[in-house]
């Protein structure tokens, strides 16, 4: 009984931290894919799944808006022929950050694939 109590007291912060880390980093993602597009392919396949054969570009940045700014566009410099796919990932932590900063700090995590020059 005693040892159990010690365990729970000692372990509680660790368990909580672990839970928090898992929950905050757990994310969901949405990917939109062009039906008729042709993705830019890698010369040598690597990675797993969807991006195995495609050249994937990653945007991992934080955008801070000032009080009079409401939204933003990310301007893509690398896909002159448009996008084949765009995947937006957001974790609970990022959503919380957005909420507690009243929408002024946004962590952005995007993976996108360009269309091949056809």
């Amino acid at each position: 009984m005693k040892t159990n109590a010690i365990f729970s007291v000692k372990l509680r912060p660790v368990v909580l931290a672990l839970l928090l880390a898992v929950t905050l980093s757990s994310c969901y993602s949405v990917r939109i894919v062009s039906r008729d597009g042709e993705p830019e392919k890698k010369a040598v396949s690597s990675d797993a799944g969807f991006y195995r054969d495609k050249v994937a570009h990653r945007q991992d940045t934080t955008i801070t808006l000032n009080p009079i700014q409401s939204d933003f566009s990310l301007v893509d410099p690398v896909c002159p022929y448009g996008f084949y796919s765009v995947e937006y990932r957001v974790s609970l932590g990022q959503a919380l950050l957005n909420m507690i900063t009243f929408g002024k700090v946004k962590k952005v995590k995007i993976i996108y694939v360009c269309n091949k020059d056809c």
């Binding site: 042709e38 040598v44 396949s45 799944g49 969807f50």
Partner: protein
């Protein structure tokens, strides 16, 4: 100007992780930029010819190297065999010029219609080609089950679907532009003497000498990269059409009878809406079977597709949402299979929904829409076997394969069966009047000794071992040989390629014919340049001094 980047000491892998294999130099060539002020055709010709010069520069560099490295072009890396691997490899997917042909470009004796001929550079994918053809209301005659291969890659191994009348992809080709070395005369435009397509004048615009020779053309079609660098191909297309696809359960008895006869008119299996007025079944455009080899009580699944005239008002067949399994899942399954391979049949039953198409679906679309994108699922390595037999041996071969899978396995894969009419390519594996391709796609496995197994009377515990992939491939080859069933094998798929005399067994005299044409076209040093380990192992790389009967040499 086209520019090439070189990466040294690279580890190359296929899309299904059949490698990795070491590569001394990996080249990637980017085309010259477009000139917006030039007209489309002259700009396409300029960029195409410029890329050809760049390839010749790379070939010269290989020949100048005292180590005499070998060179091989590749496309989308969809081949699972080592057919693609070499010392120096050239990634040509970005080389996708489309040269518009004019009426004047056609040969004066051609039987082709100008509006059906198209010139594509090697790196155009099947999807790009379908999209390009659609712009003028045209379509490829057939394709594989998906659309990601480059045209040169697909033709070089002999990609097929299950189109009962349309043949394989190389059978849509009517002209080939090859680069067979660094010299000016090494730019060659090749077509059949009996069936010319384009004029000498057009070939001159590609800076090519023209060879019109039926035998050489047929040998160069399915060449696995061994006849030099395919710079471009002339394709015959046809008017756009619609395909109506049904997925249905079919009784094994009916399925096998159809496999043996392809007599849809007198079959018990019919599809409502695809019948003649007398109620008998129509012959479909495509007939494919899916079989779970470990459940013989279960009905098979068929994908049966009928051809209809094109119209615009049809719902697009591609799904709006595609769902994927967890990336790690195939990896776990592969591990589970390794530990306890006897669970494979149960796993297959569980996974049936992801292995086979959904049953009782009806969709309609163009060829490019029906045979659409494939996305690689998960992180584990895959294998694919595909052997071809004469249709008259279809039932025997399917049953033999199912028996092998049950007796020597189980192995983690599902069976597919497709049908393709004879190809004109000398080494096309769809060589029978009607070839039945029996195939299995699945997860690669590593055999592991399991200490539990059948008890052998008096001898204690016998160790029951899962065969290695290689061992199982050998079992299939030996099984077919023992049963006296003549067969071929898909060049781009896994096989016991090192099995002694395999290619000779499969192709007989055609093997020597192919090698003679290759030797007549190439010089000893370029024959070496365009060989690789795969060709050495299969006995295809040997150079035989040219034949005086072959005037083009």
């Amino acid at each position: 100007m086209a520019t090439t980047t070189e990466e040294k000491k690279v580890s190359y892998d296929t899309i299904h992780r059949n490698g990795p294999w070491p590569v001394e130099v990996l080249y990637r060539t980017r085309l010259a930029s477009r000139n917006a002020s030039a007209d489309t055709r002259s700009d396409a010709l300029r960029r195409y010819n410029d890329a050809g010069e760049e390839i010749q520069r790379l070939l010269q560099a290989c020949l100048d190297d005292p180590k005499k490295p070998r060179f091989r072009a590749y496309g989308s890396s969809w081949s699972l065999s080592k057919v693609v691997h070499s010392d120096r490899m050239h990634f040509n997917a970005p080389m996708n010029v489309k040269i518009p042909l004019e009426t004047d470009d056609l040969h004066s004796n051609t039987r082709y219609q100008h509006e059906n001929l198209f010139f594509f550079q090697c790196g155009n994918t099947v999807k790009e080609i379908s999209r390009q053809l659609k712009k003028t209301g045209k379509s490829l005659k057939m394709s594989g089950a998906s659309n990601g291969q480059t045209i040169a890659g697909a033709v070089s191994t002999g990609v097929h679907g299950s189109a009962l009348k349309a043949g394989s992809i190389q059978d849509c080709v009517v002209g080939i532009q090859l680069i067979i070395g660094p010299k000016p005369e090494d730019r060659v435009y090749l077509e059949k003497a009996s069936d010319p397509a384009l004029s000498d004048g057009f070939a001159q615009q590609l800076h090519c000498r023209v060879i019109r020779n039926d035998g050489l053309f047929q040998a160069a079609l399915v060449s696995m990269g061994g006849f030099g660098f395919i710079a471009g191909l002339v394709i015959e297309a046809e008017d756009q059409f619609l395909l109506k696809r049904y997925t249905k359960h079919i009784k094994p008895k009916d399925a096998l009878k159809l496999a043996q006869t392809l007599d849809f008119k007198n079959s018990a299996f019919t599809i409502d809406g695809e019948k003649h007025p007398d109620g008998s079944g129509k012959t479909p455009y495509h007939y494919k079977l899916y079989i779970n080899p470990y459940n013989q009580k279960e009905d098979y699944l068929t994908e049966i597709i009928y051809r209809h005239p094109y119209r615009t008002n049809y719902p697009k067949p591609q799904p709006l949402v595609e769902k994927f399994i967890y990336t790690d899942m195939p990896g776990w399954i592969a591990k589970l299979v390794t530990v306890d391979f006897k669970r494979i049949p149960k796993l297959m039953k569980l996974m049936q929904g992801t292995l086979f198409p959904k049953v009782d679906q009806v969709t309609e679309g163009t060829l490019g829409e029906i045979f659409w994108d494939t996305t690689i699922k998960g992180n584990s390595a895959g294998f694919a076997w595909a052997f071809g037999v004469d249709q008259s041996n279809a039932t025997k071969a399917i049953q033999l394969f199912i028996e092998l899978a049950n007796q020597k396995g189980p192995v983690p894969g599902a069976i597919g069966v497709r049908f393709i009419p004879a190809t004109q390519a000398t080494l096309g594996f769809t060589k029978f009047p009607m070839t039945c391709i029996v195939e299995m796609d699945g997860l690669q496995w590593q055999p592991m000794r399991v200490p539990w197994g059948k008890r052998k009377s008096g001898l204690g515990w016998r160790k029951r071992q899962m065969p290695s992939m290689k061992a199982f491939e050998k079992e299939i080859v030996k099984g077919l040989q023992k049963a006296g069933i003549p067969f071929t094998w898909h060049w781009g798929k896994n096989c016991a390629w090192e099995h002694p005399g395999l290619v000779k067994h499969m192709f007989g005299e055609r093997m020597e014919e192919w090698m003679r044409y290759r030797s007549a076209l190439l010089r000893p040093e370029t024959a070496h340049l365009f060989s690789n380990d795969f060709m050495d192992i299969t006995g295809l790389s040997a150079y035989t001094p040219p034949d005086s009967e072959m005037p083009f040499s």
